[in-house]
């Protein structure tokens, strides 16, 4: 049994394994055991959806205070923070309130967004939020160029519980939209 071939020694045990297709039979046993202990890992996606993690970063949205006014103060920090230049803000003064600013126009090109969440981190007044929406496949990609009204609508349907205005939460919290003594307060 110790005859040698050109490269390796003849091994009777290995030879018997080869001619009886031992390795193939081991593989077939493995596949058959998967068939008999059938435990699929598939999630039937449109019918059943996975539980999202708590910090899931989905569709972006603009938020409002509980009195319906927009949180956004038009500071452009989100635009500066965005790595893929998704956001475009047109800032303007609030009419009749020269110390306050707001975003006159607010555009998001969601075709470019990579959902990093940097705009949300950058926002000083928590005006941006990441919702748990992820099914945003559309037939026309122009539908992913969102304006302010659309972003506010997303925020309205995803965040039904709204915060109070900053000046009503704590006197030291507000940095931007602080109420000034010489400006008459808004009707509550």
């Amino acid at each position: 049994m110790s005859s040698t071939t050109t490269s390796k020694r003849f091994n009777l045990f290995e030879w018997i394994k080869t001619i009886t297709f031992y390795e193939i039979l081991v593989g077939m046993k493995a596949t058959l055991s998967h068939l008999l202990n059938y435990r699929p890992v598939t999630l039937q996606y449109p019918h059943e959806k996975r539980t999202l993690p708590d910090n899931y970063r989905g569709m972006l949205a603009l938020l409002r205070y509980d009195d319906g006014t927009e949180k956004c103060v038009g500071c452009d920090l989100c635009e500066a923070a965005c790595p893929s230049r998704v956001i475009r803000v047109v800032s303007a003064e609030v009419p009749n309130e020269p110390t306050k600013r707001y975003s006159k126009e607010y555009y998001m090109d969601m075709t470019r967004c990579l959902f990093c969440g940097m705009c949300v981190d950058a926002c000083p007044v928590d005006a941006l939020g990441m919702t748990r929406e992820f099914e945003w496949a559309v037939y026309d990609k122009r539908q992913l160029h969102l304006n302010k009204q659309q972003l506010l609508a997303i925020g309205d349907r995803s965040f039904p519980i709204r915060e109070k205005r900053l000046e009503l939460q704590h006197p030291n919290v507000a940095f931007f939209n602080v109420a000034f003594k010489h400006v008459p307060p808004k009707p509550d």
């Binding site: 593989g27 058959l32 068939l35 435990r39 699929p40």
Partner: protein, 356 residues
């Protein structure tokens, strides 16, 4: 004229019944393959169309039927059209000599009819081999006529592979033919009556176990199934010889592949596993006193054996990766061919010295 008309009517009825059974089997197979493959890989397979996806074959058929029929620019239109038909007809025509049930004869108005085989010709197995080889023309012509390099490569590979493995199929069958002394599939099946050790797989004096293994491997290669699916290797050749085909012509190729699988499974069951004979002599139906219904049990045994082979095809597909081309050729010519030839010699000597 009336007798001719009667024979024609009976034959057409039998042909329609067998074609119906084969097409239904192919429909079941397309679903079963995806399901079994999915289950073996911890997936679910098709689940959308109908409950648990059981209507998927019909959805596929409708899709293929209504798809646009594209003929590539520069293709040879005549051969491009003829190739799927050349592939499909040999796959279906082989079923004419397969015995599905007991070899009874029925007398219909003076015409002797064998109800479970369309035509019991005395060269049955040779006829099947001949037409199986013709099927290779469909593949080669389809690959050539498409005017595409992937198709051509698939067709060339298929030509070499089918020629190599046809030989092994033919030689592995010779042992059975020596034991029977006939080429007729009905006679071969009848010779295996009795207990399961009377099947040619185990039958003394020359058990055909090696021939059986050679036949199964070669038939997997002949039907271009994994692990011998080099002609349609999707990771190298897009889809091989039917890359350029779409719609109904693609469906023809698809149908031919599955019909070929059913055919080689039927032949394997008939040659080595006793055909429609159960693993015990006689039938249970006769014991209960329902002798005229025993054909149901016989055809059930045939179906069980055939479906076992079809399951084996799926099982191998779920387990094995594709062979390299030189491995394929070396295995066919340097391993299987000597085994098949040696089996012929051993069987012939055993039958000569110990045969009845």
């Amino acid at each position: 004229m009336t007798e001719f008309g009667l024979r024609l009517a009976i034959s057409l009825t039998q042909i329609a019944a067998v074609m119906g059974i084969v097409v239904v089997t192919v429909l079941i197979l397309t679903l079963a393959e995806r399901k079994v493959l999915g289950w073996m890989q911890d997936r679910m397979g098709p689940m959308e169309v109908g409950p648990y996806g059981i209507l998927q074959p019909f959805a596929d058929a409708i899709k293929l039927f209504f798809k646009e029929d594209i003929v590539p620019a520069g293709a040879n239109k005549l051969l491009f059209t003829a190739a799927p038909i050349l592939c499909l007809i040999p796959a279906f025509i082989g079923f004419a000599v397969i015995p599905w049930g007991p070899s009874w004869t029925i007398n219909v108005n003076g015409v002797i009819v064998k109800p479970f085989v369309i035509s019991d010709i005395n060269i049955g197995i040779l006829y099947i081999l001949a037409f199986a080889s013709l099927g290779a023309y469909g593949i080669i012509l389809g690959g050539w006529a498409s005017n595409s390099k992937y198709s051509l490569l698939g067709g060339l590979r298929s030509a070499a592979q089918i020629i190599s493995y046809e030989l092994n199929v033919g030689l592995s069958i010779v042992g059975v033919l020596i034991l029977t002394g006939s080429l007729s599939l009905v006679k071969i099946t009848d010779a295996q009556e009795g207990w399961f050790w009377d099947w040619f797989l185990f039958k003394m004096p020359a058990p055909q176990i090696l021939a059986f293994v050679v036949y199964v491997i070669s038939s997997v290669a002949e039907t271009n199934r994994v692990p011998f699916d080099l002609p349609e290797a999707e990771s190298e050749l897009v889809a091989g010889f039917f890359t350029e085909y779409s719609g109904l012509r693609f469906a023809f190729f698809f149908l031919a592949e599955y019909a070929n699988m059913v055919l080689v499974s039927c032949v394997a069951a008939a040659l080595f596993l006793g055909g429609w004979h159960g693993p015990y002599p006689g039938t249970l139906m006769e014991l209960v006193g329902l002798g005229s219904w025993s054909w149901i049990e016989s055809t059930m045994w045939f179906a069980v054996k055939t479906y076992f082979f079809l399951f084996l095809f799926f099982w191998l597909r779920a387990t094995l990766p594709r062979l390299r081309y030189d491995q394929l050729m070396r295995f066919g010519w340097k391993v299987l061919l000597p085994i098949a030839l040696g089996n012929i010699v051993v069987t012939a000597l055993a039958v000569f010295f110990f045969g009845t």
